[in-house]
Symmetry: D2
Amino acid sequence: MRREIGVAVIGTGFMGRAHALAYRAVPNAFPNSLRPRLVAVADVSEAGAQQAAEHFGFERATTDWRTLLDDPGVQVISITTPCSLHREMALAAIAAGKHVHCEKPIAPSAADAFEMMEAAETAKVVTQVGYNYIKNPVLKLAREMIASGELGEITSFRGVHAEDYMADPEIPYGWRVDPQNGAGALAEIGNHIVGMSRFLLGAVTQVNAQLETVNKTRPVAPGSSERREVKVDDIARLMVTFERGCSGSIEANWAATGRKMQLEFEVYGTKGALCFSQERFNELQYFKAGGEPRTSGFTRIEAGPAHPPYENFTVAGGHQLGFNDLKTIEMAEFIAAIEHGTPTFPDFREAWEIQRIVDAAIRSSAQGQRITL
Amino acid sequence: MRREIGVAVIGTGFMGRAHALAYRAVPNAFPNSLRPRLVAVADVSEAGAQQAAEHFGFERATTDWRTLLDDPGVQVISITTPCSLHREMALAAIAAGKHVHCEKPIAPSAADAFEMMEAAETAKVVTQVGYNYIKNPVLKLAREMIASGELGEITSFRGVHAEDYMADPEIPYGWRVDPQNGAGALAEIGNHIVGMSRFLLGAVTQVNAQLETVNKTRPVAPGSSERREVKVDDIARLMVTFERGCSGSIEANWAATGRKMQLEFEVYGTKGALCFSQERFNELQYFKAGGEPRTSGFTRIEAGPAHPPYENFTVAGGHQLGFNDLKTIEMAEFIAAIEHGTPTFPDFREAWEIQRIVDAAIRSSAQGQRITL
Amino acid sequence: MRREIGVAVIGTGFMGRAHALAYRAVPNAFPNSLRPRLVAVADVSEAGAQQAAEHFGFERATTDWRTLLDDPGVQVISITTPCSLHREMALAAIAAGKHVHCEKPIAPSAADAFEMMEAAETAKVVTQVGYNYIKNPVLKLAREMIASGELGEITSFRGVHAEDYMADPEIPYGWRVDPQNGAGALAEIGNHIVGMSRFLLGAVTQVNAQLETVNKTRPVAPGSSERREVKVDDIARLMVTFERGCSGSIEANWAATGRKMQLEFEVYGTKGALCFSQERFNELQYFKAGGEPRTSGFTRIEAGPAHPPYENFTVAGGHQLGFNDLKTIEMAEFIAAIEHGTPTFPDFREAWEIQRIVDAAIRSSAQGQRITL
Amino acid sequence: MRREIGVAVIGTGFMGRAHALAYRAVPNAFPNSLRPRLVAVADVSEAGAQQAAEHFGFERATTDWRTLLDDPGVQVISITTPCSLHREMALAAIAAGKHVHCEKPIAPSAADAFEMMEAAETAKVVTQVGYNYIKNPVLKLAREMIASGELGEITSFRGVHAEDYMADPEIPYGWRVDPQNGAGALAEIGNHIVGMSRFLLGAVTQVNAQLETVNKTRPVAPGSSERREVKVDDIARLMVTFERGCSGSIEANWAATGRKMQLEFEVYGTKGALCFSQERFNELQYFKAGGEPRTSGFTRIEAGPAHPPYENFTVAGGHQLGFNDLKTIEMAEFIAAIEHGTPTFPDFREAWEIQRIVDAAIRSSAQGQRITL
């Protein structure tokens, strides 16, 4: 019988569901993994918790997430609640000796993230934060190509994460634009591309940013004529310098009409270049310098068995992974780190590093000057 | 407690694994579905069966698939063995009153498929065949647009399924090229695009085909200098006429160097056109006739919540489904048909219809003339 | 002073204009070329002829093309009139010792084309036919890669030329659908892709074709309720065998809603593959077999100085040629052939070969059987 | 006889040749235009001047550009020399009452550009500067859609011009990196995307920029071990604010390995979005907000007769313009402005505006702060 690990999930929304689904899928795709046992699910709504338990096979449902802390069957707690609740829940879970997975952004501020990270490192629990897109096999390839020097010395990075779900000015004021929730396009989606830039290129040492609120007011409720001022950014633009010496630009934009998932980057090096778009995330474009000009160009690499852990999902190239598969890889790596004591990524420390860049960008924009981290 | 349905899977290869994974995923994505209970897995190899049971959580493993027939806990049997075994297994399962899912091609010949279909229809069991690609939400959209008349009268179809996994002439002679297994590019992958053409446009009434063997001999074993003659096609080209009045072309090719999953079609109608490629299967290209010329063109529709059942997997557009998700939809629809008595698709009858076209193409090629079905 | 060659153009429509423009552009792009002197332009309409003379700088205009025959200043005659007039004009021009450029299709039938070819070869005048698309630098590269063996043994060809300019059933009956003009989608645009297949792969030895008339009647005049039966094809599909041993498919379609210039092909060989689309004709997709799987894929080659004669137009890669530039290359090669006695391509012999395939396809479709050429 | 206008070109390099070619092509494509008479060509090299005269049909060649000033047959002077010479030549030509076309960048500094602009406006001569890419019919469409409000209120702009021709650190120190020539990636190619942003969205009011030299030294001569420090930028990144209220980012990069012509932008508005890439410059991607979600997406508009002046080059859609055609449109518009007294674009004033942004970016980068224009 495969050994198990007890898992509890707090929250049953988009991400709560994605976590449950991913934990269930881990043993299928990763046969040597500990098998996540879905011990408990917590939600403020009793109906929500019950329904999630039923759908995903959690053994019990609760409206009191604190009951998970004392449950000896729970070794892992996944936090998928709004950002403003992360700190309290994570600190409690860590104090109870649980390994913690927390959705991104980990906290509304770098200070909170730092406190959470310190607690986790002191307690020596394993942590992970939900930057799922970097779990993509072709992005592991991208990172490896950069790290191995196949692209030569990196000279430039261009990244963007643009969607349109907040483009409509009539979307009411809510948690998405509440600064207490780590809100704003940069904090909510921009941290994906900020994290991706770190994943690929390492530490950022300087930020020069401008944040902008396009929809300056929003109705207090759907259809209401009363409007409330929005203080967080709809668009953020950053010019960044990496410790390795190169520089780059990053944009976050949740008001980009027509865009559903424009999470893209281009990396240029002295020996090659890579281009990626989450809109076609089973592909990576690669230019290798020095080839015969008559047949040179960007090569469209399709994800396949040569790109671990693609093969854990399907043995044949061209079949493609979906978003939920990325989440499954994320959970499998998290559990492997718990079992084997290997480092996980991105952990709370990494999330804090990302949040530091977000915070620095907000300050840079407000102060009108470059910020050195 | 959600009601369950007992499932057994025969075979633990690429597709056996895909079935197990899909059955497990059904209740997550389709919360109102009966929950598949993985009762048993059968494989000729005891180790294979045991391992599959362990990985996927089947309650028992067996090397004797016939033991599934008497098991009252098994209501559904999935057959994922080589094609030459399908008939025997399916007939036995049907005789035992089981609902049957069978991988494609259902049988090496239309005659066999017909026998299987008749048995299933007489026994009134529910059947389904693994044409997974048409479970794609954007292909459901395509079919709906054609059926509703949004494309006007259809004038032309162009379809292809090309891969390269048999391009290398040094791949040894094996079951893939053994005529007993429904072998050949047309029978093995071409039936996907044949089935897709029927899914979109309905019945085919005439076939004019040419089949060709590119790699005329293969080594009898890896590296062997002894070679055996290959009698099945590497490339098949069909010109087809549809009952609805339009015509089209279809190509199957498993020696198309560089292609991993070129399953593509273009449909032209008097009011619009659609283009699809499995290489980017979360997209559908749509041209709507009659628009202002200055802003007309093909529109790249990205799969999203407007395309059921995309939302069962993720609530946000642009996140993308993967191959395994298509398989999950397939299984969910199969189980829904069992529960509700609704028609399923593609069932054994449909698989027989597809096989009839394959057989007609083989005859057309051999006889050098058009065949009317 | 650069030496000149006297040119006359018959016809002032789309192609007449394109010829005039191209002749004028030749010396700019090809500085070592004879300079075409635009001696005369002929058109049935006096106004048309006068206007063309004015626009393009022809020294004289005439409504009687026969006056060109005796003009000692005219060494080259370009025929851009409707197809049904080509034979008479070409034979007269040849008889007068002129070098002849004729637009495609060269004649409504292979028999006519043969007569024209024989006359030209006997008279030893230089001929060329307007298959302009193959003058593309990246297609010269494609041909070279195939000829040199870089793609290995060719196994498969798939070609299409689809546009939508005849999709509307209310376009009146006119010369485009008059069989006397070499009409039909295959004869009018399909010959481009037929010619391209020969350009790349050489002689075709067998044809199995089905032609279809989608719009079976057309109004006799715009808006008229009286309709006339259309006897030529809107769609033609061919399965062809090449002398070199491989086979392929070809489609011509002028009723493909939404398509403006879908002139495309894919060529597969044992060592690589090429894909091309005229919709993006400054690019060629190339897959090279045998590479490291983790970084293999189709490479998008952009036209540049490595692809002669691209550099004659602009010295920097990525700038792109336009359609008129292809026509300029065509004329430059024609003139070079006249000056240096080198072979030109495609000449009347090649046009006859193409027409033979078209004729064979028509017969194959009518007879319901494969035709050996 | 069509009326003529006498033209002289100074310089016979890449752009001198492009100008000559374009002037010659104007009357073909624009039959109502004055016909440019190629009166004279000047080059420091006598051989160069003679050869250009021969190739392009200039009536005379000279090594002394000042002789053009007194030539009453010359009404227009095109300046295609290195940037450091533009000011002197343009001022002299203006003083002589000539209309002046000058290649971009117009001058190494905004101050020089201002002086040139003032002189031209005082003398009331017509001026134009070679920002050829915006002459693209689909960019005229883009501008029109923005101006007409079809995209709603514009919220965001993202632009880049990246090439790789200076990526190699062994390219010797030369005029391209000499600050006297308006050198640097921003000044040399970045001004194209800066100008495009103004063409589409109007005036820029604030710039926050960071410029970077990737290749900090270059050999003094090919292969030399002696190296000289490079002071101009290889990469420039700008965050800009437009007078209309929206903001955007701009990148210039001439060290982007693999890129030949990545001149791209994306514009987002409340009612739609546009994306463009010079790599496929006969296309424009358009998203129209408010459509039915199930069929919405970005539409690929192909250049055609609906996009003036496309039809001046070829009457059928999908045929595509090339780079030299853009240059022809540029010259035709310049000549039309001379003939009809209509405004031309971009004139010296516009070039000065562009140069002001370039200068502001350089200052912003040096000072580490945002610059208000």
